[in-house]
Protein backbone atom coordinates (compact mmCIF):
# COMPACT_ATOMS: atom_id res chain seq x y z
CA UNK A 1 0.00 0.00 0.00
CA UNK A 2 1.02 3.63 -0.50
CA UNK A 3 0.87 5.81 2.55
CA UNK A 4 -0.60 9.27 2.05
CA UNK A 5 -0.03 10.43 5.60
CA UNK A 6 1.53 8.97 8.68
CA UNK A 7 1.45 9.74 12.39
CA UNK A 8 4.45 8.52 14.37
CA UNK A 9 4.37 8.73 18.15
CA UNK A 10 2.13 11.80 18.04
CA UNK A 11 0.97 13.22 21.35
CA UNK A 12 -1.14 16.31 21.90
CA UNK A 13 -1.56 17.57 25.44
CA UNK A 14 -3.32 20.70 26.65
CA UNK A 15 -1.94 21.29 30.12
CA UNK A 16 -2.82 18.16 32.07
CA UNK A 17 -5.27 16.70 29.59
CA UNK A 18 -3.87 14.45 26.91
CA UNK A 19 -6.11 14.64 23.84
CA UNK A 20 -4.02 12.29 21.71
CA UNK A 21 -1.62 9.83 23.30
CA UNK A 22 1.33 8.39 21.36
CA UNK A 23 -0.62 7.88 18.15
CA UNK A 24 0.76 5.73 15.36
CA UNK A 25 -1.38 5.70 12.27
CA UNK A 26 -1.04 5.30 8.53
CA UNK A 27 -3.54 6.78 6.08
CA UNK A 28 -3.66 4.73 2.92
CA UNK A 29 -3.51 6.46 -0.46
CA UNK A 30 -6.78 6.60 -2.39
CA UNK A 31 -8.84 5.12 0.42
CA UNK A 32 -11.44 6.50 2.80
CA UNK A 33 -10.32 6.24 6.40
CA UNK A 34 -12.68 7.12 9.24
CA UNK A 35 -11.67 8.14 12.72
CA UNK A 36 -14.51 6.88 14.86
CA UNK A 37 -15.15 7.39 18.55
CA UNK A 38 -17.19 9.18 21.17
CA UNK A 39 -16.66 12.89 21.82
CA UNK A 40 -13.37 13.56 23.56
CA UNK A 41 -11.66 10.50 22.07
CA UNK A 42 -9.14 12.67 20.21
CA UNK A 43 -10.44 12.09 16.66
CA UNK A 44 -10.98 15.78 15.89
CA UNK A 45 -7.65 16.73 17.44
CA UNK A 46 -6.00 14.12 15.24
CA UNK A 47 -7.64 15.57 12.13
CA UNK A 48 -6.73 19.14 13.11
CA UNK A 49 -3.11 18.12 13.65
CA UNK A 50 -3.11 16.57 10.19
CA UNK A 51 -4.57 19.79 8.77
CA UNK A 52 -2.01 21.90 10.61
CA UNK A 53 -4.33 23.85 12.91
CA UNK A 54 -2.76 22.27 15.97
CA UNK A 55 0.93 21.46 16.40
CA UNK A 56 1.59 18.17 18.19
CA UNK A 57 3.36 18.31 21.56
CA UNK A 58 5.46 15.34 20.43
CA UNK A 59 5.91 13.02 17.47
CA UNK A 60 5.98 13.55 13.72
CA UNK A 61 3.39 13.75 11.00
CA UNK A 62 4.39 13.11 7.40
CA UNK A 63 2.29 13.88 4.35
CA UNK A 64 3.32 12.14 1.12
CA UNK A 65 6.54 11.14 2.80
CA UNK A 66 7.62 14.65 3.76
CA UNK A 67 7.72 15.86 7.36
CA UNK A 68 4.76 18.21 7.86
CA UNK A 69 4.68 18.30 11.65
CA UNK A 70 5.24 22.05 11.90
CA UNK A 71 4.08 23.10 8.46
CA UNK A 72 1.41 25.86 8.57
CA UNK A 73 -1.98 24.83 7.13
CA UNK A 74 -1.64 26.97 4.00
CA UNK A 75 1.44 25.02 2.91
CA UNK A 76 -0.09 21.54 3.23
CA UNK A 77 -2.51 21.57 0.30
CA UNK A 78 -5.20 19.64 2.13
CA UNK A 79 -8.91 20.14 1.54
CA UNK A 80 -10.88 20.41 4.73
CA UNK A 81 -14.63 20.41 5.23
CA UNK A 82 -15.59 21.82 8.60
CA UNK A 83 -18.48 20.73 10.76
CA UNK A 84 -19.90 24.26 10.53
CA UNK A 85 -19.02 24.31 6.78
CA UNK A 86 -17.19 27.63 7.37
CA UNK A 87 -18.22 29.13 4.05
CA UNK A 88 -17.10 32.72 3.55
CA UNK A 89 -20.35 34.62 4.14
CA UNK A 90 -19.29 37.64 2.08
CA UNK A 91 -18.43 35.66 -1.05
CA UNK A 92 -20.69 33.96 -3.60
CA UNK A 93 -20.74 30.20 -3.95
CA UNK A 94 -18.48 30.44 -7.01
CA UNK A 95 -16.03 32.74 -5.21
CA UNK A 96 -15.98 30.39 -2.25
CA UNK A 97 -15.09 27.47 -4.48
CA UNK A 98 -12.60 29.61 -6.42
CA UNK A 99 -10.92 31.02 -3.29
CA UNK A 100 -8.11 28.48 -3.18
CA UNK A 101 -7.64 28.59 -6.96
CA UNK A 102 -7.26 32.36 -6.87
CA UNK A 103 -4.55 32.00 -4.23
CA UNK A 104 -2.84 29.53 -6.54
CA UNK A 105 -2.96 32.19 -9.25
CA UNK A 106 -5.08 30.12 -11.61
CA UNK A 107 -6.09 32.45 -14.49
CA UNK A 108 -9.69 33.70 -14.38
CA UNK A 109 -11.09 31.68 -17.29
CA UNK A 110 -9.46 28.46 -16.16
CA UNK A 111 -10.64 29.22 -12.63
CA UNK A 112 -14.24 29.69 -13.70
CA UNK A 113 -14.03 26.39 -15.56
CA UNK A 114 -12.68 24.51 -12.54
CA UNK A 115 -15.21 26.16 -10.23
CA UNK A 116 -18.09 25.07 -12.43
CA UNK A 117 -16.66 21.57 -12.82
CA UNK A 118 -16.42 21.18 -9.07
CA UNK A 119 -19.88 22.62 -8.51
CA UNK A 120 -21.14 20.20 -11.14
CA UNK A 121 -19.55 17.37 -9.20
CA UNK A 122 -21.72 18.25 -6.18
CA UNK A 123 -24.73 19.16 -8.34
CA UNK A 124 -24.87 22.86 -7.50
CA UNK A 125 -23.69 24.59 -10.68
CA UNK A 126 -27.02 26.45 -10.88
CA UNK A 127 -26.39 28.16 -7.52
CA UNK A 128 -22.96 29.56 -8.37
CA UNK A 129 -23.93 33.20 -7.92
CA UNK A 130 -25.81 32.85 -4.64
CA UNK A 131 -24.44 33.86 -1.26
CA UNK A 132 -24.03 31.03 1.27
CA UNK A 133 -26.79 32.46 3.47
CA UNK A 134 -29.31 31.77 0.70
CA UNK A 135 -28.52 28.03 0.69
CA UNK A 136 -29.93 25.17 2.74
CA UNK A 137 -27.70 23.27 5.15
CA UNK A 138 -27.27 20.42 2.70
CA UNK A 139 -26.36 22.77 -0.13
CA UNK A 140 -23.84 24.62 2.05
CA UNK A 141 -22.30 21.27 2.85
CA UNK A 142 -21.88 20.50 -0.85
CA UNK A 143 -20.33 23.90 -1.50
CA UNK A 144 -17.86 23.28 1.33
CA UNK A 145 -17.02 19.96 -0.28
CA UNK A 146 -16.58 21.52 -3.72
CA UNK A 147 -14.39 24.25 -2.24
CA UNK A 148 -12.14 21.68 -0.56
CA UNK A 149 -11.87 19.51 -3.68
CA UNK A 150 -11.28 22.42 -6.06
CA UNK A 151 -7.67 22.85 -4.95
CA UNK A 152 -6.87 19.22 -5.91
CA UNK A 153 -5.79 18.46 -2.36
CA UNK A 154 -3.46 15.63 -1.53
CA UNK A 155 -5.95 14.61 1.18
CA UNK A 156 -9.56 15.52 1.78
CA UNK A 157 -10.36 15.95 5.46
CA UNK A 158 -13.97 15.84 6.64
CA UNK A 159 -14.74 16.87 10.22
CA UNK A 160 -18.15 15.44 11.16
CA UNK A 161 -19.42 16.68 7.82
CA UNK A 162 -22.88 15.14 8.11
CA UNK A 163 -23.72 15.84 11.75
CA UNK A 164 -25.61 19.06 11.04
CA UNK A 165 -27.84 17.50 8.39
CA UNK A 166 -31.21 15.89 8.96
CA UNK A 167 -31.40 12.12 8.99
CA UNK A 168 -32.53 11.56 5.39
CA UNK A 169 -30.03 13.95 3.88
CA UNK A 170 -27.28 12.41 5.96
CA UNK A 171 -27.87 8.96 4.51
CA UNK A 172 -28.00 10.43 1.01
CA UNK A 173 -24.74 12.35 1.51
CA UNK A 174 -22.92 9.21 2.64
CA UNK A 175 -23.19 7.63 -0.77
CA UNK A 176 -22.64 11.02 -2.40
CA UNK A 177 -19.28 11.39 -0.64
CA UNK A 178 -18.35 7.82 -1.56
CA UNK A 179 -19.27 8.52 -5.17
CA UNK A 180 -17.13 11.68 -5.23
CA UNK A 181 -14.27 9.82 -3.62
CA UNK A 182 -14.54 7.15 -6.27
CA UNK A 183 -14.68 9.67 -9.13
CA UNK A 184 -11.78 11.77 -7.90
CA UNK A 185 -9.67 9.00 -6.41
CA UNK A 186 -8.97 11.26 -3.42
CA UNK A 187 -7.57 10.05 -0.15
CA UNK A 188 -10.22 10.92 2.42
CA UNK A 189 -10.02 11.12 6.20
CA UNK A 190 -13.42 11.41 7.84
CA UNK A 191 -14.12 12.07 11.50
CA UNK A 192 -17.39 10.81 12.91
CA UNK A 193 -19.04 9.59 16.07
CA UNK A 194 -21.66 7.68 14.09
CA UNK A 195 -20.76 3.98 13.84
CA UNK A 196 -23.29 3.37 11.10
CA UNK A 197 -21.73 6.14 9.01
CA UNK A 198 -18.26 4.75 9.59
CA UNK A 199 -19.30 1.18 8.71
CA UNK A 200 -21.06 2.28 5.57
CA UNK A 201 -18.43 4.67 4.24
CA UNK A 202 -14.98 3.50 5.26
CA UNK A 203 -12.34 1.44 3.59
CA UNK A 204 -10.52 1.48 6.90
CA UNK A 205 -11.94 2.47 10.26
CA UNK A 206 -9.90 3.62 13.20
CA UNK A 207 -11.76 3.34 16.48
CA UNK A 208 -10.39 5.72 19.11
CA UNK A 209 -10.87 6.17 22.80
CA UNK A 210 -9.27 8.68 25.18
CA UNK A 211 -6.54 9.65 22.71
CA UNK A 212 -5.59 6.07 21.82
CA UNK A 213 -6.37 3.83 18.88
CA UNK A 214 -8.46 0.86 20.03
CA UNK A 215 -8.70 -0.95 16.71
CA UNK A 216 -7.92 -0.41 13.04
CA UNK A 217 -9.32 -2.43 10.19
CA UNK A 218 -11.85 -2.86 7.45
CA UNK A 219 -15.44 -2.29 8.60
CA UNK A 220 -16.39 -5.96 8.27
CA UNK A 221 -13.37 -7.05 10.28
CA UNK A 222 -13.93 -4.56 13.05
CA UNK A 223 -17.65 -5.25 13.18
CA UNK A 224 -17.41 -9.04 13.29
CA UNK A 225 -14.31 -9.20 15.45
CA UNK A 226 -14.16 -6.21 17.80
CA UNK A 227 -10.84 -6.17 19.58
CA UNK A 228 -12.19 -5.37 23.02
CA UNK A 229 -15.24 -4.52 25.04
CA UNK A 230 -15.04 -0.78 24.25
CA UNK A 231 -15.10 -1.34 20.49
CA UNK A 232 -17.86 -3.93 20.81
CA UNK A 233 -19.88 -1.62 23.02
CA UNK A 234 -19.41 1.29 20.61
CA UNK A 235 -20.52 -0.85 17.66
CA UNK A 236 -23.76 -1.81 19.37
CA UNK A 237 -22.88 -5.08 21.06
CA UNK A 238 -24.67 -5.72 24.34
CA UNK A 239 -25.00 -8.80 26.57
CA UNK A 240 -21.46 -9.10 27.92
CA UNK A 241 -20.95 -12.36 29.77
CA UNK A 242 -17.81 -13.10 31.73
CA UNK A 243 -16.92 -16.78 31.57
CA UNK A 244 -15.58 -18.84 34.46
CA UNK A 245 -12.12 -18.74 32.85
CA UNK A 246 -12.28 -14.92 32.87
CA UNK A 247 -12.80 -14.53 29.12
CA UNK A 248 -15.61 -12.38 27.80
CA UNK A 249 -18.41 -13.28 25.42
CA UNK A 250 -20.75 -10.86 23.76
CA UNK A 251 -23.86 -11.19 21.62
CA UNK A 252 -25.66 -8.48 19.68
CA UNK A 253 -29.22 -7.89 20.92
CA UNK A 254 -30.61 -8.84 17.51
CA UNK A 255 -28.90 -12.22 17.81
CA UNK A 256 -30.11 -13.08 21.29
CA UNK A 257 -33.32 -15.06 21.17
CA UNK A 258 -35.75 -15.53 24.01
CA UNK A 259 -37.51 -18.86 24.61
CA UNK A 260 -39.68 -20.16 27.39
CA UNK A 261 -37.76 -21.72 30.28
CA UNK A 262 -36.80 -25.28 29.63
CA UNK A 263 -36.80 -25.03 25.81
CA UNK A 264 -33.65 -26.70 24.59
CA UNK A 265 -31.91 -25.16 21.57
CA UNK A 266 -31.52 -27.26 18.49
CA UNK A 267 -28.12 -25.84 17.52
CA UNK A 268 -25.07 -25.68 19.74
CA UNK A 269 -24.50 -22.34 21.45
CA UNK A 270 -25.20 -20.34 24.56
CA UNK A 271 -28.13 -20.82 26.88
CA UNK A 272 -28.68 -18.58 29.89
CA UNK A 273 -31.61 -18.75 32.30
CA UNK A 274 -33.12 -15.32 32.80
CA UNK A 275 -36.14 -13.45 34.18
CA UNK A 276 -37.98 -10.95 31.98
CA UNK A 277 -37.89 -7.46 33.46
CA UNK A 278 -39.57 -5.56 30.66
CA UNK A 279 -40.97 -6.29 27.24
CA UNK A 280 -41.74 -3.46 24.87
CA UNK A 281 -43.47 -3.79 21.51
CA UNK A 282 -41.66 -1.89 18.75
CA UNK A 283 -43.46 -2.98 15.61
CA UNK A 284 -40.73 -4.92 13.80
CA UNK A 285 -39.55 -6.47 17.04
CA UNK A 286 -39.92 -6.62 20.78
CA UNK A 287 -37.19 -5.32 22.98
CA UNK A 288 -36.98 -7.73 25.88
CA UNK A 289 -34.86 -6.78 28.86
CA UNK A 290 -33.91 -9.63 31.18
CA UNK A 291 -31.99 -10.17 34.37
CA UNK A 292 -29.58 -13.10 34.61
CA UNK A 293 -26.35 -14.16 36.30
CA UNK A 294 -23.10 -14.82 34.49
CA UNK A 295 -20.63 -17.60 35.18
CA UNK A 296 -18.94 -15.63 37.95
CA UNK A 297 -22.22 -15.11 39.79
CA UNK A 298 -22.47 -11.41 38.90
CA UNK A 299 -25.99 -10.20 38.05
CA UNK A 300 -26.17 -8.94 34.46
CA UNK A 301 -28.76 -7.42 32.15
CA UNK A 302 -29.51 -9.09 28.84
CA UNK A 303 -31.26 -7.39 25.94
CA UNK A 304 -32.90 -9.09 23.01
CA UNK A 305 -34.42 -7.46 19.96
CA UNK A 306 -35.18 -10.51 17.94
CA UNK A 307 -37.30 -9.83 14.92
CA UNK A 308 -40.72 -11.49 14.99
CA UNK A 309 -41.45 -13.98 12.27
CA UNK A 310 -45.04 -12.92 11.70
CA UNK A 311 -46.91 -9.66 11.92
CA UNK A 312 -48.67 -9.99 15.24
CA UNK A 313 -49.75 -7.74 18.05
CA UNK A 314 -48.86 -10.47 20.55
CA UNK A 315 -47.28 -8.84 23.58
CA UNK A 316 -44.76 -11.68 23.81
CA UNK A 317 -43.26 -12.23 27.23
CA UNK A 318 -44.50 -10.62 30.43
CA UNK A 319 -42.35 -9.20 33.19
CA UNK A 320 -41.53 -11.91 35.66
CA UNK A 321 -41.61 -14.73 33.07
CA UNK A 322 -38.87 -17.30 33.45
CA UNK A 323 -37.08 -17.67 30.13
CA UNK A 324 -33.86 -18.83 28.49
CA UNK A 325 -31.79 -16.47 26.38
CA UNK A 326 -30.13 -18.28 23.52
CA UNK A 327 -27.51 -17.56 20.87
CA UNK A 328 -25.89 -19.84 18.30
CA UNK A 329 -22.15 -20.40 18.25
CA UNK A 330 -21.50 -18.28 15.16
CA UNK A 331 -23.36 -15.36 16.74
CA UNK A 332 -21.11 -15.28 19.76
CA UNK A 333 -18.08 -12.98 19.76
CA UNK A 334 -15.20 -13.81 22.06
CA UNK A 335 -13.34 -10.71 23.20
CA UNK A 336 -9.64 -11.18 23.73
CA UNK A 337 -9.05 -8.38 26.17
CA UNK A 338 -11.34 -6.80 28.70
CA UNK A 339 -11.20 -3.02 28.39
Amino acid sequence: MTTAAEFTGVTQAYGDTVAVDNLNLQIEQGKLTTLLGPSGCGKTTTLRMLAGYITPSAGTITINGADATRLPPEKRNLGMVFQSYALFPHLTVADNVGFGLKLRKVPATKRRELVMANLDLVGLAHLADRKPKALSGGQQQRVALARAIAISPSLLLLDEPLSNLDARLRVQMRSEIRRIQGETGLTVVLVTHDQEEALEMSDTMVVMRAGKVMQTGAPATVFTAPANRFVADFLGYENFLTQSDGSLLTVRPEHLRVAAAGVVPTTPGLTVAAVVRESVYRGVDHIVTMTATDATGTPITLVSTTRRDTLTADAGFQPGDLVTAQARDHEIVRLTSEN
Binding site: G52, Y53, E74, F82, A86, H90, R147, A148
Partner: protein, 264 residues
Protein backbone atom coordinates in the same frame (compact mmCIF):
# COMPACT_ATOMS: atom_id res chain seq x y z
CA UNK B 1 -50.73 49.17 25.95
CA UNK B 2 -54.29 47.98 26.21
CA UNK B 3 -55.11 46.66 29.66
CA UNK B 4 -51.88 48.06 31.09
CA UNK B 5 -52.94 51.45 32.47
CA UNK B 6 -50.06 51.93 34.91
CA UNK B 7 -47.29 50.70 32.63
CA UNK B 8 -48.79 52.62 29.73
CA UNK B 9 -48.92 55.86 31.70
CA UNK B 10 -45.31 55.50 32.87
CA UNK B 11 -44.16 54.75 29.33
CA UNK B 12 -45.97 57.78 27.92
CA UNK B 13 -44.46 59.96 30.65
CA UNK B 14 -41.03 58.58 29.77
CA UNK B 15 -41.45 59.43 26.09
CA UNK B 16 -42.67 62.94 26.99
CA UNK B 17 -39.55 63.60 29.07
CA UNK B 18 -37.26 62.21 26.35
CA UNK B 19 -38.82 63.86 23.32
CA UNK B 20 -40.78 66.99 24.27
CA UNK B 21 -37.77 69.17 25.24
CA UNK B 22 -36.28 68.44 21.82
CA UNK B 23 -39.50 69.56 20.14
CA UNK B 24 -39.41 72.81 22.12
CA UNK B 25 -35.92 73.57 20.88
CA UNK B 26 -36.98 72.94 17.30
CA UNK B 27 -40.11 75.05 17.53
CA UNK B 28 -38.32 78.06 19.02
CA UNK B 29 -35.67 77.88 16.31
CA UNK B 30 -38.25 78.96 13.74
CA UNK B 31 -39.33 82.08 15.64
CA UNK B 32 -39.36 85.45 13.95
CA UNK B 33 -38.90 87.21 17.29
CA UNK B 34 -35.75 88.08 19.18
CA UNK B 35 -36.21 86.09 22.37
CA UNK B 36 -35.98 82.43 23.23
CA UNK B 37 -39.58 82.25 24.41
CA UNK B 38 -42.50 79.97 24.04
CA UNK B 39 -44.77 80.12 22.15
CA UNK B 40 -42.52 81.51 19.40
CA UNK B 41 -43.49 84.81 17.79
CA UNK B 42 -44.15 84.20 14.12
CA UNK B 43 -42.33 81.81 11.83
CA UNK B 44 -39.10 82.49 9.98
CA UNK B 45 -35.79 80.97 9.02
CA UNK B 46 -33.81 84.06 10.01
CA UNK B 47 -32.06 82.43 12.98
CA UNK B 48 -30.78 79.58 10.85
CA UNK B 49 -29.19 82.15 8.58
CA UNK B 50 -27.65 83.92 11.53
CA UNK B 51 -26.32 80.70 13.05
CA UNK B 52 -24.66 79.69 9.80
CA UNK B 53 -23.14 83.14 9.41
CA UNK B 54 -21.86 83.24 12.99
CA UNK B 55 -18.13 82.64 12.61
CA UNK B 56 -17.47 81.05 16.04
CA UNK B 57 -20.13 78.39 15.36
CA UNK B 58 -18.89 77.63 11.86
CA UNK B 59 -15.27 77.47 12.99
CA UNK B 60 -16.15 75.28 15.95
CA UNK B 61 -18.24 72.98 13.74
CA UNK B 62 -15.24 72.42 11.50
CA UNK B 63 -13.02 71.80 14.53
CA UNK B 64 -15.52 69.30 15.93
CA UNK B 65 -15.77 67.42 12.64
CA UNK B 66 -12.02 67.34 12.26
CA UNK B 67 -11.51 66.05 15.80
CA UNK B 68 -14.29 63.47 15.48
CA UNK B 69 -12.96 62.08 12.20
CA UNK B 70 -9.33 61.88 13.31
CA UNK B 71 -10.04 60.43 16.76
CA UNK B 72 -12.48 57.87 15.31
CA UNK B 73 -9.87 56.76 12.78
CA UNK B 74 -7.19 56.55 15.45
CA UNK B 75 -9.43 54.64 17.85
CA UNK B 76 -10.27 52.10 15.13
CA UNK B 77 -6.65 51.80 14.08
CA UNK B 78 -5.61 51.04 17.65
CA UNK B 79 -8.74 49.21 18.75
CA UNK B 80 -9.32 46.72 15.92
CA UNK B 81 -5.92 44.99 16.39
CA UNK B 82 -6.66 44.82 20.11
CA UNK B 83 -9.99 43.16 19.35
CA UNK B 84 -8.25 40.64 17.12
CA UNK B 85 -5.70 39.86 19.79
CA UNK B 86 -8.38 39.46 22.44
CA UNK B 87 -10.79 37.42 20.31
CA UNK B 88 -8.46 35.27 18.25
CA UNK B 89 -5.12 35.17 20.06
CA UNK B 90 -4.26 33.13 23.10
CA UNK B 91 -3.03 35.86 25.40
CA UNK B 92 -2.69 35.53 29.15
CA UNK B 93 -4.92 37.72 31.31
CA UNK B 94 -7.35 38.23 28.45
CA UNK B 95 -10.20 39.53 30.62
CA UNK B 96 -7.84 41.90 32.42
CA UNK B 97 -6.69 43.38 29.11
CA UNK B 98 -10.27 43.71 27.92
CA UNK B 99 -11.19 45.37 31.21
CA UNK B 100 -8.39 47.89 30.78
CA UNK B 101 -9.68 48.87 27.34
CA UNK B 102 -13.22 49.23 28.61
CA UNK B 103 -12.26 51.17 31.73
CA UNK B 104 -12.56 54.63 30.10
CA UNK B 105 -16.30 53.96 30.18
CA UNK B 106 -16.20 53.78 33.98
CA UNK B 107 -13.79 56.55 34.92
CA UNK B 108 -15.55 59.96 34.93
CA UNK B 109 -14.68 61.95 31.79
CA UNK B 110 -13.85 65.02 33.83
CA UNK B 111 -11.14 63.01 35.58
CA UNK B 112 -9.64 61.96 32.24
CA UNK B 113 -9.92 65.50 30.91
CA UNK B 114 -8.22 67.05 33.90
CA UNK B 115 -5.52 64.38 33.88
CA UNK B 116 -4.70 65.06 30.23
CA UNK B 117 -4.81 68.80 30.83
CA UNK B 118 -2.20 68.45 33.56
CA UNK B 119 -0.01 65.89 31.81
CA UNK B 120 -0.20 66.80 28.15
CA UNK B 121 -1.01 70.50 27.98
CA UNK B 122 0.84 71.71 31.06
CA UNK B 123 3.41 68.93 31.46
CA UNK B 124 4.36 68.33 27.83
CA UNK B 125 3.36 71.76 26.45
CA UNK B 126 1.30 70.19 23.68
CA UNK B 127 -1.49 71.95 21.83
CA UNK B 128 -5.05 71.51 22.79
CA UNK B 129 -5.69 69.54 19.59
CA UNK B 130 -3.11 66.91 20.61
CA UNK B 131 -4.60 66.66 24.10
CA UNK B 132 -8.12 66.44 22.70
CA UNK B 133 -7.09 63.82 20.18
CA UNK B 134 -5.58 61.67 22.93
CA UNK B 135 -8.58 62.21 25.21
CA UNK B 136 -11.22 61.51 22.59
CA UNK B 137 -9.37 58.46 21.28
CA UNK B 138 -9.16 57.06 24.82
CA UNK B 139 -12.88 57.66 25.19
CA UNK B 140 -13.66 55.91 21.88
CA UNK B 141 -11.39 52.88 22.36
CA UNK B 142 -14.02 50.99 24.37
CA UNK B 143 -16.43 51.25 21.43
CA UNK B 144 -13.78 50.20 18.94
CA UNK B 145 -12.85 47.18 21.06
CA UNK B 146 -16.28 46.13 22.25
CA UNK B 147 -18.45 46.74 19.21
CA UNK B 148 -16.03 45.20 16.72
CA UNK B 149 -15.37 42.44 19.25
CA UNK B 150 -19.08 41.65 19.36
CA UNK B 151 -19.21 41.20 15.60
CA UNK B 152 -16.08 39.07 15.59
CA UNK B 153 -17.35 36.90 18.43
CA UNK B 154 -20.39 36.07 16.31
CA UNK B 155 -18.28 35.00 13.35
CA UNK B 156 -17.28 31.34 12.99
CA UNK B 157 -13.52 31.04 13.69
CA UNK B 158 -13.46 28.03 11.36
CA UNK B 159 -13.93 30.45 8.46
CA UNK B 160 -10.42 31.78 9.04
CA UNK B 161 -9.07 28.26 9.39
CA UNK B 162 -10.76 27.35 6.13
CA UNK B 163 -8.96 30.19 4.38
CA UNK B 164 -5.63 29.01 5.78
CA UNK B 165 -6.36 25.46 4.66
CA UNK B 166 -7.09 26.71 1.14
CA UNK B 167 -3.64 28.27 1.01
CA UNK B 168 -3.99 31.79 2.41
CA UNK B 169 -1.19 33.15 4.58
CA UNK B 170 -2.21 34.70 7.92
CA UNK B 171 -1.94 38.19 6.42
CA UNK B 172 -3.94 37.23 3.36
CA UNK B 173 -6.54 35.58 5.61
CA UNK B 174 -6.88 38.80 7.58
CA UNK B 175 -7.50 40.97 4.53
CA UNK B 176 -9.67 38.60 2.52
CA UNK B 177 -11.72 36.99 5.30
CA UNK B 178 -11.39 38.54 8.76
CA UNK B 179 -11.64 42.17 7.70
CA UNK B 180 -14.78 41.64 5.58
CA UNK B 181 -16.35 39.83 8.54
CA UNK B 182 -15.43 42.73 10.79
CA UNK B 183 -16.77 45.38 8.43
CA UNK B 184 -20.24 45.78 9.99
CA UNK B 185 -18.67 45.95 13.45
CA UNK B 186 -16.14 48.53 12.32
CA UNK B 187 -18.93 50.54 10.71
CA UNK B 188 -21.02 50.51 13.92
CA UNK B 189 -18.03 51.34 16.07
CA UNK B 190 -17.03 54.15 13.72
CA UNK B 191 -20.49 55.62 13.73
CA UNK B 192 -20.83 55.49 17.50
CA UNK B 193 -17.32 56.86 17.93
CA UNK B 194 -17.92 59.76 15.57
CA UNK B 195 -21.13 60.76 17.34
CA UNK B 196 -19.58 60.31 20.79
CA UNK B 197 -16.60 62.47 19.93
CA UNK B 198 -18.69 65.11 18.22
CA UNK B 199 -21.05 65.43 21.19
CA UNK B 200 -18.46 65.27 23.96
CA UNK B 201 -18.45 68.12 26.45
CA UNK B 202 -16.33 67.32 29.54
CA UNK B 203 -13.07 66.57 27.71
CA UNK B 204 -13.58 69.22 25.07
CA UNK B 205 -14.30 71.78 27.76
CA UNK B 206 -11.23 71.06 29.88
CA UNK B 207 -8.86 70.71 26.94
CA UNK B 208 -10.06 73.65 24.83
CA UNK B 209 -7.93 76.59 23.84
CA UNK B 210 -8.56 79.82 22.03
CA UNK B 211 -7.27 78.20 18.85
CA UNK B 212 -9.27 75.02 19.14
CA UNK B 213 -12.76 74.80 20.53
CA UNK B 214 -15.49 72.29 19.64
CA UNK B 215 -19.06 73.16 18.76
CA UNK B 216 -20.82 71.93 21.94
CA UNK B 217 -18.37 73.90 24.08
CA UNK B 218 -18.83 77.01 21.95
CA UNK B 219 -22.58 76.65 22.26
CA UNK B 220 -22.36 76.29 26.04
CA UNK B 221 -20.27 79.45 26.15
CA UNK B 222 -22.65 81.28 23.91
CA UNK B 223 -25.73 80.45 25.97
CA UNK B 224 -24.04 81.86 29.08
CA UNK B 225 -23.68 85.24 27.39
CA UNK B 226 -26.68 85.63 25.17
CA UNK B 227 -29.89 83.78 25.28
CA UNK B 228 -31.40 84.06 21.83
CA UNK B 229 -33.01 81.75 19.24
CA UNK B 230 -29.74 81.39 17.33
CA UNK B 231 -28.74 78.68 19.79
CA UNK B 232 -32.03 76.88 19.10
CA UNK B 233 -31.39 77.15 15.37
CA UNK B 234 -27.88 75.71 15.72
CA UNK B 235 -29.27 72.92 17.91
CA UNK B 236 -31.90 72.15 15.29
CA UNK B 237 -29.20 71.90 12.63
CA UNK B 238 -27.30 69.43 14.83
CA UNK B 239 -30.54 67.52 15.33
CA UNK B 240 -31.04 67.34 11.58
CA UNK B 241 -27.51 66.03 11.09
CA UNK B 242 -28.05 63.46 13.82
CA UNK B 243 -31.30 62.32 12.22
CA UNK B 244 -29.44 61.76 8.96
CA UNK B 245 -26.82 59.66 10.77
CA UNK B 246 -29.56 57.71 12.54
CA UNK B 247 -31.30 56.97 9.24
CA UNK B 248 -28.04 55.82 7.69
CA UNK B 249 -27.50 53.58 10.72
CA UNK B 250 -31.01 52.17 10.52
CA UNK B 251 -30.81 51.55 6.76
CA UNK B 252 -27.40 49.88 6.82
CA UNK B 253 -27.29 47.78 9.96
CA UNK B 254 -30.36 48.50 12.02
CA UNK B 255 -30.39 50.72 15.01
CA UNK B 256 -30.83 48.08 17.66
CA UNK B 257 -27.89 46.08 16.29
CA UNK B 258 -25.54 49.03 16.57
CA UNK B 259 -26.57 49.82 20.09
CA UNK B 260 -26.67 46.20 21.11
CA UNK B 261 -22.89 46.34 21.28
CA UNK B 262 -22.75 49.02 23.95
CA UNK B 263 -24.47 47.02 26.60
CA UNK B 264 -23.55 43.66 28.14
Amino acid sequence: MKGRPILGTLAVLGYIIMIVPILFVVSTAFTAGDALTFPPQGVSLRWFGEALAYQPFVGALLSSLQLAVVSTALALLLGVPVTLAIQRGKIPGKSLVEGLFLSPLVVPELVVGLALYQQIMIGLHQTSFVALLVGHTVLLLPYAVRVTGASLALADPAVEEAARGLGATPLRTFFSVTLPLLRPGIFSAGLLSFVTSFNNVPLSLLLQSRQFRTLPVTMLDYVQQSYDPMIAAMSTLILAGTVVIAIVAEKTLGFAKIFGGINK
